[in-house]
């Protein structure tokens, strides 16, 4: 079902496009040798180039270019062997040069495509318009001094990729799924850490509404939204606002807006009339960026396996459902963890354990896949103990809990606690006989036709054996003794 918002005049369709700013992972900044790492004392990572001193010139950082190309390849996008930098001119205290070096007319990456998956399992293609390289600005802080603003230029000049989508997104859910997908891809590629809290990934959200079948109406841009949840909320809040404007006989004006998460609404930042005239022109301090096809091919050959391919391979190689594979590849580290556990073992069982008890334990203990509640080696060993029938599935759960609690390896726990599965038919027969003798009335009911009681007898036997009985042999023995 397509997502629609009901207004007084009927259903409205929401149209969304995202511009994602993703900070590139690199040692140094886009045009200077200053460190691009997050944090550090204010203005500790600033070169004279970053600070816009007279006579300073930008020199492109090749690694940042490689990162943009890798990302473009990950987005299945066209790599432009010719691209060019432009100056985007505006005055602000944290923009040292009075212009941002960006790519306006000739971006390094052209059109591409990503596939998103919705809650109901629907897959949808979202078009990528372009990806371009640009430098970040510094940070103004207005609350550090009674009458002055202070500036931190650590971030000034750090490389950003701006990833622009087509207006293909039609709901808050799709917007969220798209943003998560982009974040997943850049994390797989290690081109951006995708950390929205630290601001290394943020989105400008373009929203408009229309009656189904209409051409696009005027859009508004919501600047700098910094979480997936806020993006989803902002889309809905802004769409509802626009519907109200249209239905009240008004007209939506093109403007830049801000999302206020505390009030759950967007508000005007500046209208089109006050919009900056950025006076773009080609950056004369830099030559056009010309890439060699060979170099691009080498980058392509060295790309890691991307989430979509990995998901398909997991389905194929480990025979697990598409949905489970999606959960497992969501984070590269989880996928790697799974693969360590599943390799050479029952992939399906491994998937069940990881998405089940393992994830539950991770949430419960507040740990992460990088600092897991049980190591991949331990999980593998646990699966091996199940496979060779040393323990049964029920006992395995107890062993797992002990692993999480003590950090010990499962085999050791099994030995220590004497949890080895009992397959000795003599011992099992004895236990079955005892249970039947103690429940004569139930045996009579069973024989009178109440066959449901079979499970009760098995349960009682397992209980008597402290769960260690081999379930198949116990079943067999109960059946035989009941005649």
């Amino acid at each position: 079902m397509a997502y629609m918002l009901e207004g007084r005049t009927g259903a409205w369709e929401v149209v969304v496009g995202l511009e994602i700013h993703a900070q590139i992972i690199s040692e140094s900044k886009l045009f200077s040798g200053a460190s691009a790492t997050y944090g550090g004392a204010p203005n500790a990572h600033v070169s004279f180039v970053d600070a816009g001193f007279p006579g300073m010139l930008p020199v492109i950082n090749k690694e940042c270019v490689a990162q943009a190309v890798r990302t473009g390849l990950g987005l299945k996008a066209e790599i432009n062997l010719f691209s060019r930098f432009d100056r985007k001119n505006y005055f602000y205290a944290d923009l040292p040069n009075g212009y941002q070096i960006s790519q306006f007319a000739h971006p390094i990456v052209g059109t591409g495509q990503v596939e998103i998956e919705l809650q109901d399992g629907t897959l949808k293609q979202i078009g990528i318009t372009r990806l371009h390289l640009e430098q970040d600005a510094g940070k103004s802080m207005h609350d550090q001094h009674a009458s002055k603003s202070v500036i931190d230029l650590n971030r000034a000049g750090v490389a950003l990729m701006e990833i622009v989508s087509e207006p293909d997104i039609r709901s808050p859910e799709e917007a969220g799924a798209y943003l998560r997908k982009i974040r997943q891809i850049v994390r797989y590629l290690a081109t951006c850490d995708g950390n929205m809290e630290e601001g290394s990934m943020r989105a400008d959200v373009n929203v408009s509404v229309r009656k189904p079948g209409e051409p696009f109406r005027t859009r508004c841009e919501i600047k700098n939204v910094n979480s997936v949840r806020f993006v989803m909320h902002a889309v809905e809040a802004e769409a509802l606002r626009q519907i109200d404007v249209w239905e009240s006989g008004g007209e939506v004006v093109q403007e830049t807006r801000l999302y206020d998460p505390s009030r759950g609404e967007t508000r005007s930042m500046r209208s089109k009339e006050d919009a900056h005239d950025y006076r773009y022109f080609p950056e004369p301090d830099l030559l056009p960026l010309i890439l060699e096809q060979d170099w691009v091919d080498q980058l392509k050959a060295s790309l890691p396996e991307l989430p979509d391919e990995k998901r398909e391979r997991f389905c194929r190689d480990y025979n697990i459902p598409f949905y489970d594979a999606g959960v497992l590849v969501a984070e590269q580290a989880t996928a790697d963890f799974y693969e360590t556990v599943a390799k050479g073992r029952d992939g399906k069982l491994a998937a069940n354990w990881i998405t089940g008890d393992f994830f539950a334990a991770m949430n419960r203990t507040g740990k992460s896949i990088d600092n897991p509640p049980a190591s991949a080696a331990a999980m593998g060993e646990l699966l091996d103990l199940i496979a060779d029938k040393t323990i049964n599935g029920r006992i395995a759960k107890d062993v797992f809990e002990a692993m999480v609690e003590t950090g010990k390896m499962p085999a050791a726990i099994v030995e220590e606690k004497g949890l080895r599965q009992v397959t000795d038919t003599g011992a099992i027969d004895e236990a079955v006989a005892k249970v039947l003798a103690a429940n004569q009335d139930k045996v009579a009911e069973y024989k009178a036709g109440k066959e449901k009681l079979f499970g009760f007898f098995v349960g009682q036997v397992m209980k008597a054996m402290a769960g260690k009985g081999n379930p198949a042999i116990v079943n067999e023995a109960v059946k035989k003794q009941l005649g």
């Binding site: 004279f48 600070a51 816009g52 001193f53 007279p54 006579g55 300073m56 010139l57 930008p58 020199v59 492109i60 100056r87 001119n89 005055f91 602000y92 205290a93 040292p96 040069n97 009075g98 212009y99 603003s149 500036i151 005239d277 006076r279 773009y280 022109f281 004369p284 301090d285 830099l286 030559l287």
Partner: protein
């Protein structure tokens, strides 16, 4: 013969022979600066103590046998080159308190070669001008006088302080920068040789930017040979400037004696402009004759888009300047005039810090880049710039070098041509096309006007073929035998 008559080449010989010490030479120049600069205003900042220290180091280097052709040679540094620890103003109030913590690549190369820097030479504010009257530190007086007149003349610009200092012999040579003629026109106005090398030949790192796609550093000196010696030290690839060319620097002095026999020299019809001083047209004809006599083949050529040079230049250069000068905002360095808020601080700082010519160009540049005007002005200008470049590349399929006048007039009076900026801009009519095309061009002193002022001829060469430019310039220099001296000079 006075110590001030020595060229770089001659002084270097005496220094090597220990007939003269670098300290003696620098001391003489320091004294001459102290005596004449108050009148000429060729230096914004003189650095006699630093110069003396450098001279002592130079003497030590000469004694150690590690001297270069420039060790101990006292020069003036245009105050557009950032010099570590020495105030760098770009002749603007907005940089009055600015002491760079870094050194420009070109000045660093000259220092590494052992050159002694006497001080920072005056210029038009941010190199915007053709007369040196836009400097916030006052105009420069041209040491030359018209016959029988005491009227003050301009030295040309923007490298007017460099030109006046070398002409008046209060520097043995100087660095300049040339965006649309800022080395060549002042060289012509003061009887000096000066070359704007190919765009990309010298690093722009550490040079206060005016128009990035046009700015080039180059030398100004008493003769062509000295320019060649200086350029050899200044030029070369620099990984700190992405537009500098990764090319070997040839030995320019070796090219001086090549001669012009068999060279094809183009004479562009479009440079025979109405309103050009007839003395200059006559000198041009002489220059043609000299080259023909020395075995060059003279070929009439056409550079059909010449007339668009000035309009294109006065769109492209201000456009880049308007952006390059945005960094002078009072936030991080230089002048700040406090205000009510950020915008008010910007406005007060820039209103107080920039002179009227700089403001004019920022406004023109902002206008031509604005939404709705970009296509009609900036984009059109870029297209025409390509046509001008094509004029030259086409011409250079037929000829090895081009000969033209450097400027349409001799030095004019301080206060003349002030009524209308466009009249002033016309000074650059012959120099701007080579700047737009990025090709090397040199002005050589070749004669005097009827009223006794120096005139220059311009030799334009192919991209990265400064060697031919030097060879042709040397041939003209030899034939012209230019030996006149300005009235005001160290003796």
């Amino acid at each position: 013969m006075s110590i001030f008559d020595l060229t770089i080449a001659a002084a270097a010989k005496k220094l090597a022979a220990k007939d003269l010490s670098a300290v003696e030479l620098t001391t003489a120049y320091n004294k001459a600066v102290a005596a004449l600069n108050p009148r000429l205003n060729a230096y914004i900042t003189a650095t006699p103590d630093l110069a003396l220290e450098q001279a002592k180091a130079a003497d030590a280097r000469i004694a150690a046998g590690t001297a270069t052709a420039l060790t101990g040679i006292p020069i003036a540094m245009k105050d557009l080159f950032c010099t570590a620890g020495v105030r760098t103003t770009a002749a603007s109030r907005i940089l009055e308190p600015f002491i760079p913590p870094y050194e420009s690549t070109v000045s660093a190369k000259l220092r590494d070669a052992g050159a002694v820097v006497l001080g920072k030479a005056n210029l038009d504010e941010f190199a915007m001008g053709s007369s040196n009257i836009t400097s916030a530190y006052g105009p420069v007086e041209n040491p030359w006088k018209r016959n029988g007149s005491d009227a003050k003349l301009v030295p040309g610009g923007s490298s007017g302080g460099s030109a006046a200092a070398v002409a008046a012999r209060i520097a043995l040579a100087a660095t300049g920068t040339d965006t649309g003629g800022s080395i060549r026109q002042p060289a012509a106005f003061t009887g000096l040789a000066g070359i704007k090398p190919t765009y990309g030949r010298c690093s722009r790192y550490g040079i206060v930017a005016f128009a990035s796609s046009l700015d080039q550093a180059g030398p100004m000196a008493r003769n062509v040979e000295d320019c060649a010696i200086l350029l050899n030290a200044m030029a070369g690839f620099d990984d700190k400037d992405s537009t500098s060319a990764p090319r070997e620097v040839p030995n320019f002095t070796a090219a001086l004696s090549r001669g012009v026999k068999g060279l094809k020299i183009g004479i562009p019809a479009e440079y025979r402009l109405e309103g050009t001083n007839p003395d200059i047209l006559a000198l041009w004809d002489k220059g043609i004759a000299w080259l023909r006599e020395q075995g060059a083949e003279i070929i009439d050529i056409s550079l059909p888009h010449t007339k668009y040079g000035l309009p294109v230049y006065y769109i492209v250069a201000p456009a880049e300047a308007s952006s390059n000068l945005a960094r002078y905002d009072g936030v991080r360095f230089g002048l700040r005039v406090e205000g009510e808020d950020l915008i008010d601080m910007y406005e007060r700082t820039r209103a107080a810090g920039f002179g009227s010519e700089v403001k004019r160009r920022i406004m023109i540049g902002t206008y031509v880049l604005s939404h709705g005007y970009y296509d009609a002005y900036y984009l059109k200008a870029q297209k025409v710039r390509n046509l001008i470049l094509k004029d030259f590349t086409d011409a250079f399929t037929k000829v090895d070098a081009i000969l033209t006048p450097t400027a349409p007039s001799a030095a004019f009076g301080l206060g003349e041509k002030m009524d209308d900026p466009v009249t002033m801009y016309l000074n650059d009519v012959f120099t701007v096309p080579a700047s737009l095309a990025g090709v090397p061009a040199m002005s050589v002193p070749a004669g005097l006007s009827a009223d006794g002022l120096p005139l220059g001829l311009q030799v334009i060469g192919k991209h990265f073929d400064e060697e031919t430019v030097f060879a042709v310039s040397a041939a003209i220099e030899n034939a012209a035998g230019f030996s006149a001296l300005p009235e005001v000079r160290a003796k």
